[in-house]
C-alpha cells in the first residue's frame, strides 16, 4: 500500500533537465536514502513524490495508485523540511494539532491524538512552549510529530540534519533511526552526506546529474560500486582508481599501470571479463584495504594526515595518486617510499571508456 514506484520519471525546468528518467521501487516500510552531490536531482525527485512539483513525464505510483493530479495536501505524505518549517508563531501543541485541525477533527479527538504523539516523541512537557525558541533536536521531533499525527504512509525527509553541527548530528541520526522503527513507515531521506545514508538507510539510491547511478544496501554500494562515480563518491576518502591496461603475465592477468609497474595478478573470477574488455581500465581499491607489503606498488609518500584513530597517507601525485588509510600510525613520512598492495579480493576493475564496473562473470 505504501510502496513507492517511480517509472520513467523526468523533470525539466525550461532548458535544464533536473532529472533524466528515473526508475526506482521503494518497498513498503523501507528506509531509502537518495544520496548525491547538490544538483543531482534528489530534491527534485522528492518534491515530485510530495506533489510540490509535477513531473514533466513519467509516473509516480503509491502502491497501485497513480499520483498524477493528486494535490500535495491529499497524498498522505509526511514531509520534514530542511529547516523543519515549524510554525514559529504557535506553541508546540498548536503545531502538532495543525493537521487534524485543518481537517476539521473534533476538539477531543485532536487532544487525544496530540497527547499520544507527544507521549511517543517525549514532547509532553514542552507542549505549551512557544516554538520559536526550541533547540534543534526538539524542532526535529516537532516537525516529525506534526507530520506523524496525520498517520502518513510515507515520510519524506529533506536533508533534516544539514543545519545541525557535526557533534549533534550523531545524536540526531540515532534518534531518527529509532523514530523510523517506531513508526514503521516508508521513509525517503534526501541527503548529500554519505555517513547519514550509510548509517540509517536500508537501501541507498546514489544519484548524479539527474541520473540514478546505483541502488543497493549501504554495503553493496560501498563494496561493489556500479561505476566510477559511485566508487569515488562513496567512502571517505573515495576509492583509489589507477589507469592501466590489462596484460598477461606468468602469474596470471595483471594490469599494466605504466610508470607504476604492474599490479599483482587479478583474482580468477574477474580475470576473464577484464581480459574481454578492450582498451584502458581503471584499477580500483579502497584506501582502507591497502596494506604495506613486500611486493606491490612502490610509490613515494607525498603527504601524511594523522587524525587520531587513523592515518591517511597520500602516495604519488596527479593521476597516479593513491590514498591509503591505516588504523595505526605506520611511521611513514614525506619523501619515503612505501610499497603497498591491496588484497586481491578487494580489487575492483572499471572500464575506462564507459566508467562501468567490470563484473565477475
Amino acid at each position: 500500500m505504501s510502496a513507492i514506484h517511480l517509472q520513467n520519471l523526468v523533470k525539466e525546468f525550461g532548458d535544464f533537465t533536473a532529472l533524466k528518467t528515473m526508475d526506482l521501487d521503494i518497498a513498503d516500510g523501507e528506509f531509502m536514502a537518495l544520496l548525491g552531490p547538490s544538483g543531482c536531482g534528489k530534491s527534485t525527485t522528492m518534491n515530485m513524490i510530495a506533489g510540490m512539483e509535477e513531473p514533466t513525464s513519467g509516473k509516480i505510483l503509491f502502491g497501485e495508485r497513480d499520483m498524477a493530479g493528486v494535490p500535495m495536501g491529499r497524498r498522505g505524505v509526511g514531509f520534514v523540511f530542511q529547516n523543519y518549517a515549524i510554525f514559529t508563531h504557535m506553541t508546540v501543541r498548536q503545531n502538532l494539532a495543525y493537521g487534524p485541525r485543518m481537517r476539521g477533527a473534533a476538539r477531543a479527538e485532536i487532544d487525544r491524538r496530540v497527547g499520544a504523539i507527544a507521549e511517543m516523541l517525549q514532547l509532553a512537557p514542552l507542549l505549551d512552549r512557544k516554538s520559536d525558541r526550541l533547540s534543534v533536536n526538539i524542532l526535529q521531533r516537532v516537525a516529525i510529530g506534526r507530520s506523524a499525527i496525520m498517520e502518513p504512509a510515507i515520510f519524506l525527509l529533506d536533508e533534516p540534519l544539514s543545519n545541525v553541527d557535526a557533534a549533534f548530528r550523531a545524536v540526531m541520526r540515532t534518534e531518527l533511526k529509532q523514530l523510523q522503527r517506531q513508526f514503521r513507515q516508508t521513509m525517503v531521506y534526501v541527503t548529500h552526506d554519505q555517513l547519514e545514508a550509510m548509517t540509517m538507510a536500508d537501501r541507498i539510491a546514489v544519484m548524479d546529474h539527474g541520473v540514478l547511478q546505483q541502488v543497493g544496501t549501504p554495503l553493496e554500494v560501498y563494496n561493489n560500486p556500479a561505476n566510477v562515480f559511485v566508487a569515488r563518491f562513496i567512502g571517505a576518502p573515495g576509492m583509489n582508481l589507477l589507469k592501466g591496461r590489462p596484460a598477461e603475465s606468468d602469474r596470471g592477468l595483471v594490469i599494466d599501470l605504466g610508470p607504476l609497474g604492474v599490479t599483482p595478478p587479478l583474482p580468477d573470477e574477474i580475470a576473464p571479463p577484464v581480459r574481454a574488455t578492450r582498451g584502458e581500465v581503471l584499477y580500483g581499491f579502497r584506501p582502507e584495504q591497502v596494506a604495506l607489503a613486500e611486493r606491490g606498488l612502490s610509490m613515494p609518500v607525498s603527504f601524511v594526515e594523522r587524525i587520531g584513530a587513523r592515518t591517511i597517507v597520500h602516495l604519488g601525485e596527479g593521476e597516479n595518486a593513491v590514498r591509503a588509510v591505516f588504523e595505526n600510525d605506520v611511521g611513514l613520512s614525506i619523501g619515503q617510499t612505501a610499497v603497498v598492495a591491496p588484497p586481491a579480493s578487494s580489487v575492483r576493475v572499471f572500464d575506462a571508456a564507459t566508467g562501468l564496473a567490470v563484473k565477475a562473470g
Binding site: M52, G73, T88
Partner: protein, 318 residues
Amino acid sequence: MSAVTATILENEMGARTKPATPDEGSRLGFRLTLPAQILVLFISAFPLLMQLYISVTDWSPLSGAGWWNAWEMWNSFANYTDLAADTRFWSALQRTAIVMLVCVPAEFLLGLALATLFADEFPGKRIFYSILLMPMMVVPAVAGYMFFMLFQSGGPVNDILSRIVGTPVTIAWLSDPNLALIAVMIADIWQWTPLMFLILLAGLVGVPEDQMKAATLLGANAWQRFTTIVLPKMKTIIIIALAIRVIENFKIFDTLYIMTGGGPGVATETISVYIYKVTTQDLIWGYVAAIALAILIVLSIVAVYAMKRMAKAREVPA
C-alpha cells in the same frame, strides 16, 4: 603579578587617551550632543510649550501684544471649557471619526486584497505595480482638483453613470451634504490604498514560504493558510499600517479642502478644516491652541496604544 599587568595596561592606555573619569565622560557626551539637543528643543519642546502657554490665554494676533505678552490676557482654562461645549468642534470630530472608520478599513481591505494578488506572479505585474502606486505620488492638492473636476455635476463621474444607466444622471456630488462626504472619502481611498498595499505586500512576501508549503502538506486550504499562517505572521506590520493611516486620516485636509472647502455648509468640516477656519477666519489663536493641544493628546493616546500592541505582537516574532 596582576598589579604589574594592570600598571602596564594603564601605561599603554594612558599613552593613547587621557584617563577619563565617568563624570568627565558624560560631560563630554553632553557637550557633543548639545547641538542636536538644542535642535530637538526648538522643533518639538518649544512649540509645544508655546502652544500650551497660548492655550490658556485669549491672545490673538490682532490683540496688539506679542505672543510672549499673552499672559496679560490670561483666562486660565476658559478655552478648554469652551471647547467642551463647542458643538461645531464635536460634530467636526464626529465627522472625522466617520471618515476614518470608513476610509481606513476600506483602504486596509483593498490593500490586503491587492497585496495578496501581487504576492503571486502574473503577466504584466511590473506595469500594474507601477500604475497602482501612482495615486500615492500625486500631490494631495492636485488630487483634490482632480476629484473636484471628476465630481462636477456635468463631470466624468456623472457621465459614466449616465452611460451605464442609460438616462442622464445629474448628481450634485459636491453640493449635496451627504454625497460630499462620500466623494471626499472616495478620493482618500483612491489616494491612500496604494500605501496600505505597499506596506502589506512587504509583510506578505516576508511570510516564510516553507511554512506555507508545510501547511499545504498538512491539508490546509488557501483560506486556512491565510488565517492561520499569513495573518498571524503579519500582525506587527498590519498594526503599523493601520496606525499610520489612522493618524494620517485623522489629519485629513488638503484634498478635502480643495474639493469642498469643508462645505456645503459644514457637511465635510473635519477637525483640520475646523481648526484652519478658526485660525484664518476667526483669528482666536488662544482657542486654536487649545483645540490643537486636545487633538495632540488624543492622537498620542492612539499612538501609544498602537506601539504597545506592536511590542506585544513582537514577543511572538514572525
